[in-house]
Symmetry: C2
Subunit: 159 residues, 2 copies
């Protein structure tokens, strides 16, 4: 279970924009340089994020990218969903209830785990906004710690 390159860098690019003073914007070369990726790669990511409505782009000289919505309103779960190309709906069809083309119809032992994990991650990400990623990391840490402290009180079955 890992974060894909697209998820990671797409998220990073948005954080860059969120850290900008009001009204400012960044060009592709600027974004690329700050993230250590190529301009072409940054361009593709920004194109995705633009299509999804997270950023606003202006062409021509003096152009660039800026956030289209307030950073406080953008939850990480939304971002990941776009950058991940709907993994939730593709994976073995178990999320839509269709279950075609999968040999594990009816007796799939790990389905609750997969579904549970995705829900767990999605839920955690839905509680973090872009704004929280700029500057102080304490609120993000606090959120995860809250979950952890609960987890540790639960013991595995049969041990």
């Amino acid at each position: 279970m890992k974060i894909s390159a697209q998820e990671e860098y797409g998220l990073r690019c948005l954080v860059q924009l969120a850290a900008l003073p009001d009204g400012a914007s960044l060009t592709l070369p600027q974004i690329a340089e700050r993230e250590g990726i190529s301009t072409a790669n940054a361009g593709k990511l920004m194109w995705l994020l633009n299509k999804a409505g997270f950023v606003h782009s202006t062409r021509g000289t003096k152009g660039g990218y800026s956030l289209q919505r307030p950073a406080e309103d953008i939850r990480l779960s939304e971002i990941i969903k776009v950058l991940d190309e709907d993994v939730l709906n593709k994976h073995c069809g178990s999320y839509t209830g269709v279950l075609d083309s999968c040999v594990h119809n009816g007796d799939c032992g790990i389905r609750p785990v997969i579904i549970g994990l995705h829900a767990l991650v999605e839920n955690a990400l839905s509680q973090i906004t872009l704004a929280q990623l700029v500057g102080n990391e304490s609120s993000v840490d606090a959120m995860f710690h809250k979950v952890h402290s609960i987890h540790r009180t639960v013991e595995p079955h049969g041990v």
Copy 2:
């Protein structure tokens, strides 16, 4: 953020063995057929799981695979760690504190998110044993629901 094919099918193979009556075993072709994968593929997965000490293999006629440890003792987190080839330690070095070859030294806005997510998943998986995946799924669901109910009481910052 998704589960890799290796993680998914490796886990499935172990569930098959865990569901076996005491003393029984499965051959490679049997495992492959039940999981809808090729024998070669199953062979590679079982080889990994054998190296890691999860299963015991016997060669020759009447050979096959069986669990080396009680299913009640095997946590999913251990399994994923093996099948995932230590993603935690590779990803951008941030987990070891080294941070070489990464441009985001010192001001990596998403590091707490990545670390937090991995810890969240690892923690959840450490609370599920192989035994829980056989038969009744209720205990697995219950674990995830517990986390969810907590999560929903927390509101994002600035909203």
